[in-house]
């Protein structure tokens, strides 16, 4: 399997998982009044400032037979987590976490509180308010979160290098493939893949900025936002 396809698969898994895990975390961070909230906010932002070597180094230890993740995985699946696609997904979810959560927090916080109160007064529960008021109004944030965590995973290198084991079709992502080719002095092939990634990254960022500037006002915002 080609490395770019593998990168896309990994990025899609990570973006999907991050949306599932990130939404409740972002909801809680946006609406909680707990004074210790800054602690969780700091943890969420941590991968932004940590070098991938730190995340990769600890990820490898955690996935090992003496690490908590490794032990758990061994019980569940009968094999270790390092050098597997699943291992890359776990490490990437951690590493891309802020990209999947922070845009959600920002857009949840931007929803007008009066609308939430109105929704409550009209008898909606929290779950209904979330689905029918918060989520529709936060769709640009949701799109940003999904696209950014996808793109960030696509561009990830250090963590994959440290826990992947460079197995073709399993853990050799496009960024690793480029590195291997530079190392073996196949500059032509490295260049081809690198240009492709560059074009994809540019396209993805254009999408994010276009959505946030509402270049194309999507139908849903016309119905819901006043």
């Amino acid at each position: 399997m080609n490395s770019l396809a593998l990168s896309f698969e990994l990025a899609a898994c990570v973006a999907g998982l991050l949306l599932l895990i990130g939404t409740p975390v972002a909801y809680w961070l946006a609406y909680s009044h707990w004074r210790g909230k800054f602690l969780l906010e700091s943890i969420v932002a941590l991968p932004l400032v940590l070098p991938p070597t730190v995340v990769g180094f600890y990820a490898l230890l955690a996935m090992g037979p003496r690490g908590p993740l490794g032990k758990m995985w061994m019980v569940l699946f009968g094999h270790g987590l390092a050098f597997t696609f699943g291992g890359l997904v776990v490490a990437s979810v951690v590493y891309s976490f802020p990209f999947g959560v922070q845009p959600l927090i920002a857009s949840f916080e931007a929803v007008d509180r009066k609308l939430l109160e109105a929704s409550a007064v009209l008898g909606s529960g929290k779950w209904q308010t979330f689905l029918r008021v918060i989520l529709p109004l936060s769709l640009p944030g949701v799109v940003t979160a999904v696209v950014l965590s996808f793109a960030h995973t696509l561009g990830e290198f250090g963590v994959v290098l440290m826990v992947g084991g460079d197995l073709a079709g399993v853990t050799r992502t496009a960024s690793i493939d480029i590195y291997d080719r530079v190392e073996t002095l196949e500059y032509g092939e490295a260049n081809r893949l690198a240009l492709l990634l560059l074009a994809i990254a540019f396209g993805v960022l254009c999408l994010v900025y276009a959505v946030n500037r509402r270049v194309w006002t999507p139908a849903w915002t016309r119905w819901t936002a006043k």
């Binding site: 490898l60 090992g64 037979p65 530079v182």
Partner: protein
């Protein structure tokens, strides 16, 4: 390398600053004007290519040592490596074997060809995981994510790898791992650099290299 630098500094007063990295990476950096005096590579092919492209001071390329490879397992492994040798890799308790990527690293190439020569490559191929270089392969076993590894003997001496069993792969089982060094045209301190290069190939240099898991080079 550190020890060589220290010894050299004691003898001559010249301090050696070492930058570590992969040969391929330094190769492209040197092609693009990286400010180094000397280039030591675990694979003599890289300095040879630089020489062909005119980045090396003519006549200064030399092989300075031969690498040795070993099978390494953690001490707490229940496999009897000393008794089993090659067969340890076939053991069911060994689920993953870390080697350096044969396409990137000479130690990986040596490991793969030794496995082929031993006639067990096909049996262990599915267990192999690849480190970007030999140190990463070592880290994979040391952290327990792989149960065995084929690593450089020089690494088996390092502090992090002390708690391990070692079985040396006979040198005739793999192609020679020729470590090559050369003086670069970009060198700013030529005379001192050349002196260090000569020191590495001197009797005291070779002695240090042998103490750290290398063999003396085949030619002089």
């Amino acid at each position: 390398m550190e020890e060589l630098g220290k010894d050299f500094e004691e003898k001559t007063g010249t301090k050696i600053d070492v930058s570590y990295g992969s040969s391929g990476n330094f190769f492209s950096q040197l092609q693009n004007g990286a400010p180094f005096d000397l280039f030591f590579s675990a694979d003599v092919a890289y300095p040879r290519k630089l020489e062909a492209q005119g980045f090396v001071e003519p006549g200064t390329l030399r092989d300075y040592a031969l690498g040795r490879i070993v099978i390494w397992m953690p001490n707490d492994s229940s496999v009897d490596l000393a008794k089993e040798g090659w067969h340890a890799l076939l053991d069911r308790r060994v689920q993953k074997i870390a080697i350096a990527n044969p396409e990137l690293a000479p130690y990986g190439r040596a490991a793969a060809s030794a496995l082929k020569k031993a006639g067990i490559y096909n049996q262990v191929e599915a267990k192999l995981v690849y480190g970007e270089n030999i140190s990463q392969a070592a880290q994979f076993v040391q952290s327990g994510n792989a149960q065995a590894g084929i690593i450089a003997l020089s690494l088996a001496f390092s502090p992090g790898m002390k708690d391990g069993k070692v079985w040396e792969i006979p040198p005739e089982m793999h192609p020679r791992i020729e470590q090559g060094a050369a003086l670069l045209k970009n060198a700013r301190n030529r005379s001192a650099a050349l002196a260090f290069l000569n020191f590495v190939k001197s009797a005291s240099g070779i002695k240090i290299l042998e103490q750290h898991g290398f063999s003396a080079p085949a030619s002089n």
